[in-house]
């Protein structure tokens, strides 16, 4: 299993558009991917938009992705790059 830790810098947090783009990206991998908001300890399936939005991720919150599956290495690298660029 691979993990990615990231602190959200986007001033409005993980709202609809970035959540949609993130889920679309995460859905492209075979691996099981979960995202946890360390602020409230809620965890969601990274491939489900409503679940990701209901984590209530705000600016300054740290999220942890847990990635498990055949393409976990690619997913780890690409999702980390996506978070840094977009959120």
């Amino acid at each position: 299993m691979k993990t990615v830790e990231y602190v959200i810098t986007d001033p409005v947090g993980l709202h609809a558009r970035p959540a949609g783009l993130f889920v679309k990206k995460a859905s492209a991998y075979q691996s099981n991917i979960t995202v946890k908001n360390t602020e409230n300890d809620k965890t969601a399936d990274a491939k489900r938009i409503m679940a990701v939005m209901s984590l209530g991720v705000k600016q300054g919150n740290k999220i942890i992705l847990s990635i498990e599956g055949e393409d976990e290495n690619t997913a780890q690298a690409e999702l980390e790059a996506f978070l840094k660029e977009s959120l």
């Binding site: 609809a16 558009r17 949609g20 679309k24 489900r48 409503m50 939005m53």
Partner: protein
């Protein structure tokens, strides 16, 4: 055509309009996040007043702190996002009043949110309101229920199981 047709044929799930106004294709929304259905299949309503109601019986999943969008899971498991206006996240809650909270159980027709549409338009934002099915992939299809003028509660989307 016997009465058993109704028993064996799975019935479409109906999603009501969250507001009164004019219903248009999601393709007419100028923001690709919605028109390209990144958040799910759906439809859009140009609201005529600022009152937004529960489109189904269900539970409030998400109420953004900025109050411009609400996520609801229906009693049947349909995940619906109502996004009032485009880029309205930038208003940071201004011109919006919430009448519900995350975790609340709601009945179709309950008032969820009020928005000052004139003030939002004056601030330079389009008030068109996409209504999206976030778990569209779980269903055979999501099709528009109607186009044109709608009242709050009228069926605007049919979910084919």
């Amino acid at each position: 055509m016997g009465f058993l047709d109704g028993v064996f044929k799975k019935k479409d799930l109906e999603i009501g309009s969250p507001c009164s106004g004019k219903c248009v294709s999601i393709k007419e929304v100028s923001d690709p996040t919605f028109s390209e259905e990144i958040l799910g299949k759906g439809i859009a309503v140009k609201p005529e007043d600022g009152k937004f109601y529960a489109p189904v019986n269900g539970t409030i999943n998400t109420l953004f702190p900025t109050k411009h969008a609400i996520g609801i899971t229906s009693a049947d498991g349909v995940e619906i996002l109502i996004h009032v206006g485009l880029d309205t996240v930038n208003l940071k809650g201004e011109h919006f009043t919430a009448h519900t909270e995350a975790g609340a159980t709601v009945s179709k027709g309950d008032l969820l949110l009020e928005a000052d549409l004139d003030a939002i338009a004056a601030a330079g934002y389009d008030t068109i309101t996409p209504v999206l099915i976030c778990n569209s992939g779980n269903y055979t299809d999501v099709v528009p229920g109607v186009e044109g003028k709608v009242s709050q509660g009228d069926c605007i989307l049919r979910i084919k199981i």
